[in-house]
Amino acid sequence: MSKPPDSVTGDTEAPPTGAEQAPPESPGDQGRAKRRVVHDLWLSGTEAPVDTGRFTDEGAQEMLLEEEAAVLAGQRGTLVVDDYAAGVEPSTEQTQIVNMGPQHPATHGVLRLQVELDGETIRRVKPIIGYLHTGMERTGEALTFMQGPTNVTRMDYLSPFHNELAFSLAVERLLGLEIPPRAQAIRVLMTELNRVASHLLWAATTGLDLGALSMMIYGWREREAVLAFFEKTTGLRMNHNYIRPGGVAADLPDGWEEDVAAIEETVLAGLADYEGLLMENPIFIERTHGVGVITPEECLAYGVTGPLARASGIDFDLRKAFPYSGIEQYEFDVPTTEHGDVYDRFIVRFEEIRQSLRIARQVAETMPLGDYRSEDRKVTPPPRARLDQSMEALIHHFKIFTEGFKVPAGEVYEAVESPRGELGMYLVSSGGAKPWRLHVRGPSFANVQALPVMLTGSLIADTISALASVDPVMGDVDR
């Protein structure tokens, strides 16, 4: 490294040809040595970062040097042996590095992609995340188990019910708490309707990215029907804090069966429209067929779950494999396709909307009577009416909402099938009223990581299509 990299592109002046450059003994050692430079500068008490000329203003977040073979493999998506892109050889032509995002309408939030281009062909992609990091895992440690759902519901803001459900399931497993059948059925109803809303929004924004402007309007229109029902039930359109440890916050409103039936009718009619609008549209097919392909092996290696994995042919759904909240009582199919491209992801998600509506209809038909939350007084506050009559009930209510309830020590991992894949919560309790550690396994985090696999070797124009099909929610990625 005789010459420092250009501070704008972060690239060396010319890629080494490889033959005269001796391969490094261990890429890992070298990577660590480089990181050390940054560290020592700061830990030795310096007032300001010393300008080494090696980093851009964003710090060391640059494309790594060409001799970092292992890193290159990651950024080229060639770590898995069977990769289709393994044949992509670095060109000796001049390449350029382009930043897409973080402020870009097609990145669905503050995702930044560093793309190295050879003409119009993508040589490398590096997703750079963290722009929306708000330390929610640490915040979770400062809130009681009772307050926890308020925090986690804001992570994946397009599927808040799934966040709350995963958290509540983890707490309940530690407590060994039984949930009444009606509460379980309400949870299934809300999460499945949430899947419908999330997929509709995804279809709308992806349609917009692909130039189908009407799709944008249609998707939001149908989603609004679902959100109106959420508002009626929980009081809020998003970030509901409705599913809580012990059950749900309130019973369903009067006339909810008619609302669910109306949602089903509206969305199914809309779905027929979308398919007529998109699926046989030659422009749409041209932009989605064979774009952003990921193979089943790559899905396994990179932890890609949910509709992406199912579009690649992995027949796996947590609702079937590890049923939660009594979802095994309802009949539904898990759609899979085999090509793993953007078009197949449309097929899978549209079919999932149908299946979720099917589950919602079954829930509406078989909704059991009973409590909507556990009657375990250790976890559930006393009924409102009791507070006027009993001093003890008032104290009890006060204690639960100020101190919270204690959860036995232990650690559990609970996962639910969110619209984006496996949403897991790893919860460690030390026996107090607050979690010792709350880790969220966000599906978007793993899916964004697999973007290099999907994009390498394709054209720059396909980036938008592939990225939109991943459906990343940055609140979930950065937490």
């Binding site: 890429p27 890992g28 990577g31 660590r32 990181r35 940054v38 700061w42 830990l43 007032e47 300001a48 970062p49 980093f55 964003e58 710090g59 060391a60 977040q61 790594l64 970092e68 292992a70 890193v71 990651g74 898995v80 995340i129 963290g130 990091h133 895992e137 640490r138 400062a142 497993r173 899905c299 396994l300 290696a301 990179y302 932890g303 890609v304 779950t305 992995i314 796996f316 494999a321 590890f322 020590a409 232990g410 650690e411 559990v412 991992y413 996962a415 496996e422 897991g424 790893y426 030390s430 010792w436 550690r437 880790h439 396994r441 985090f445 793993a446 964004v448 990581q449 697999a450 937490r479």
Partner: protein, 166 residues
């Protein structure tokens, strides 16, 4: 920390195979979930063997700081077997005075971001990771905020360029 060992859903052969191959691995069933404690030096070998035994999907990797315990840190790896559907959770103790762990990116490339996140928030260094840099926090952040001894509240928020003002 005491967890009540309970019966697992269906004890299957994958666990038995692994248990017989690694004497050092301690299996336990906690809240119906299979947990195995593995010495730090065996982590990569164990993960590799688990992959061969059917746990082919990488799910999660994170750190936990127990502060008063010895070893202080724990690295938690979650793997998934699709057929039959099984999970395995691998716990690796990492001492506080030597916070390093072997990287499993060679077995599962998907561990890349997760190990970077764990390094970013806990300061656990993964040996053999090709690009161990901060991922969620800015590169010039000082300290590791998810450690239990990291201060919260009443600390000036670190922003880039704030040093230039004074």
């Amino acid at each position: 920390m005491t967890t009540e060992p309970t019966e697992i859903r269906s004890p299957g052969p994958p666990y038995d195979d692994l248990a017989s191959r690694f004497d050092s691995a301690e299996f336990e069933v906690s809240h119906g979930q299979v947990v195995v404690r593995v010495p730090r030096e065996d982590l990569v070998g164990f993960v590799d063997a688990a992959k061969d035994a059917g746990f082919r999907m990488f799910i999660d990797l994170c750190g936990v700081d127990y502060l008063d315990r010895d070893p202080r840190f724990e690295v938690v790896v979650n793997l998934l077997s699709l057929e039959p559907p099984r999970r395995i959770r691998i716990l690796v103790g990492v001492p506080g005075d030597d916070p390093t762990a072997p990287s499993i990116t060679g077995v599962f490339p998907g561990a890349d971001f997760y190990e970077r996140e764990t390094f970013d928030l806990f300061g656990i260094e993964f040996e053999g990771h090709p690009d161990l840099t901060r991922i969620l926090l800015p590169d010039d952040w000082v300290g590791f905020p998810l450690r239990k001894d990291a201060p919260i509240g009443s600390v000036p928020v670190q922003f880039k360029g704030s040093n230039k003002v004074s």
